[in-house]
């Protein structure tokens, strides 16, 4: 068994530092919630948080003061509404001012791809007519040397640490991501260090030949965290907890109730198993 397999708390302690650029990725599916909670428990500060779709876990991290900047393309609680803590940080600077760098999905995906590809920038057909480039100096243009067409160009993303959640790892630390694979492979390969939480560690991945497999040697920590994506889901393991996502709207609306909930549920529990037990989840 590889020594890269370790408890999540150890992985966060070793790899996630104040002031870093950190991406927790997962496109609705396989969101690394447990890892986000652990970053909150360990009180990381001044993080530049990258994520295509900031949702509940980023709402929690922002509300608990981990973030100084958020780089994103869509921020909301899918199927429910706004992220109150994210909004409160942007609109009112609570608990601290949070800068934003706002992009579109295709752009963010391309920026991770550029990062994974060792390229300094990404090219896309996008932002035509849009006001976004006016407010984001990271969106520039580039001219095709063959056709003269002017396209959008944005810088590669290379997080200090990427964190993802996946279905399983084998004992060497190879990881299988299955179903809606999102941007996870690119986010991991773009990063300087990578943490993967998994539902389980197995003897044999039983991965189809062309499946999305991340070999152990591109990862720095693999942590077994059952239900680590809750309230998101893990295809083949458990469903999305829609009731909790709706409930979050109420919990997060007011600062005080939010803080109380986070103190009791996240700061008050030593790890994800205890969090799940305390919250009465499964």
């Amino acid at each position: 068994m590889t020594d890269k397999i370790m408890p999540l708390a150890d992985a966060v302690r070793r790899l996630v530092k104040d002031g870093q650029t950190v991406a927790l990725e997962g496109f609705t599916h396989l969101i690394p919630t447990a890892a986000g909670h652990e970053i909150i428990r360990q009180k990381r500060r001044d993080l530049t948080l990258v994520r295509m779709t900031p949702d509940i876990v980023y709402d929690q991290m922002i509300g608990m003061g981990c973030a100084k900047k958020v780089i994103f393309s869509w921020g909301g609680n899918p199927g429910v509404g706004s992220l109150h803590r994210f909004r409160d940080a942007i609109q009112n600077g609570w608990p601290n001012a949070v800068a934003i760098s706002e992009h579109s999905h295709a752009d963010m995906a391309g920026r991770y791809q550029a990062g994974a590809s060792g390229l300094p920038f990404s090219v896309l057909r996008g932002y035509v007519g849009s006001d976004l480039p006016k407010h984001n100096p990271e969106i520039k243009t580039i001219t095709c040397p063959f056709t003269g067409e002017v396209l959008a160009a944005t810088p590669a993303i290379n997080p200090d640490v990427t964190v993802i959640h996946a279905q399983k790892a084998d004992r060497k630390g190879n990881v299988l991501v299955h179903g809606i694979v999102g941007i996870q492979k690119e986010a991991v390969l773009a990063a300087k260090a990578a943490i993967v939480t998994v539902e389980e560690i197995v003897d044999d991945l039983e991965a189809p030949m062309n499946a999305c497999v991340l070999p152990h040697w591109v990862l720095d920590a693999i942590c077994e965290v059952p239900m680590g994506a809750h309230p998101s889901y893990a295809h083949g393991y458990y469903e999305r907890d829609n009731a909790f996502c709706k409930e979050w709207d109420g919990i997060s609306k007011e600062r005080e109730r939010f803080l109380e909930w986070m103190k009791a549920h996240v700061l008050g529990t030593p790890n994800h198993a205890q969090f799940l037990a305390y919250a009465g989840i499964r």
């Binding site: 496109f27 599916h29 909301g76 706004s82 609109q91 999305c212 996502c245």
Partner: protein, 263 residues
């Protein structure tokens, strides 16, 4: 409005669904676009190809997804690809016939805002979720449809923020801007359907839902609304349409444990 046995939301979803023909490749936004696209698939267009930006191609959900990445979408898809692939090869690659969007605000050229309400980007009155994939859907699909409820707050003279391009400043300005595709060819609302004037590209009221008047539509539009010479009368929902849509919502509610409409 009168109460003819269906809601404005239902007729707008049904009218949108009717426009989606069998075999069309549709890049589907979550919410009303997804409801309409799946209604089409479950009625007259069984071979419509639904693509969600989570990478699910040929999705055939039995219940409506709450999020763009529900497992339901992957389970019955023809294939599931990565997010960069869906945007690069499938959308930007020019494989999408119809990009089907919602919006928070729309202007008379079909440009849309899903970023902020208020006139200061740094200090918005309301921070909306943001662009998502809308800018690239709007500028890369062969045409786009927008489904949105009409009100003076949503149909505005000037957008607080132009997130995704429609016919831009009208005329041939979209084409000159470098966007591809025809842009918005239909805006389906709870009042009727607007289509762009062939030359000026300004949205013109072209059809009304049963029982809705031009005056009602005008009152719900934040600019002086142009009306076509011949305003078509949209047919009321058929029994099949209504039953299929309601069944879909009931199944969805049962699966998600939420209320049975998408409002």
């Amino acid at each position: 409005m009168s109460h003819p046995g269906y809601t404005p939301s239902e007729i707008m979803t049904i009218e949108a669904a009717r426009r989606l023909s069998n075999g069309t490749v549709c890049f589907v936004g979550i919410g009303l676009p997804s409801a309409a696209a799946n209604l089409a698939r479950l009625t007259h267009a069984p071979e419509v190809v639904l693509i969600y930006e989570s990478g699910t191609i040929g999705a055939k959900p039995d219940v409506l997804p709450l999020s763009i990445g529900d497992g339901e979408l992957a389970e019955y898809a023809d294939t599931v690809v990565s997010v960069p692939e869906i945007f690069r090869y499938w959308l930007q690659g020019g494989r999408v016939d119809v990009g089907f969007l919602g919006a928070a605000q729309i202007d008379k050229f079909g440009n849309i805002n899903s970023t902020i309400i208020g006139d200061d980007y740094a200090k918005p009155k309301v921070r909306l979720p943001g662009a998502g994939g809308a800018p690239e859907i709007a500028s890369n699909a062969k045409e786009t449809w927008i489904i949105i409820k009409q009100s003076p707050r949503t149909f505005v003279e000037k957008l607080d923020f132009l997130t995704s391009v429609g016919h831009y400043e009208g005329g041939d300005s979209r084409q000159r801007s470098g966007a591809r595709g025809a842009g918005p060819t239909a805006v389906i609302t709870d009042h009727g359907v607007l289509v762009p004037d062939p030359v000026t590209k300004e949205l013109v009221l072209a059809a009304l839902h049963p029982g809705v008047t031009e005056e009602q539509a005008r009152a719900m539009t934040g600019w002086p609304l142009k009306v076509a010479n011949q305003v078509a009368a949209i047919a009321p929902p058929t029994q099949l349409e209504l039953v299929t849509l309601r069944d879909l919502h009931v199944r969805t509610a049962r699966a998600h444990g939420t209320s049975s409409t998408n409002e």
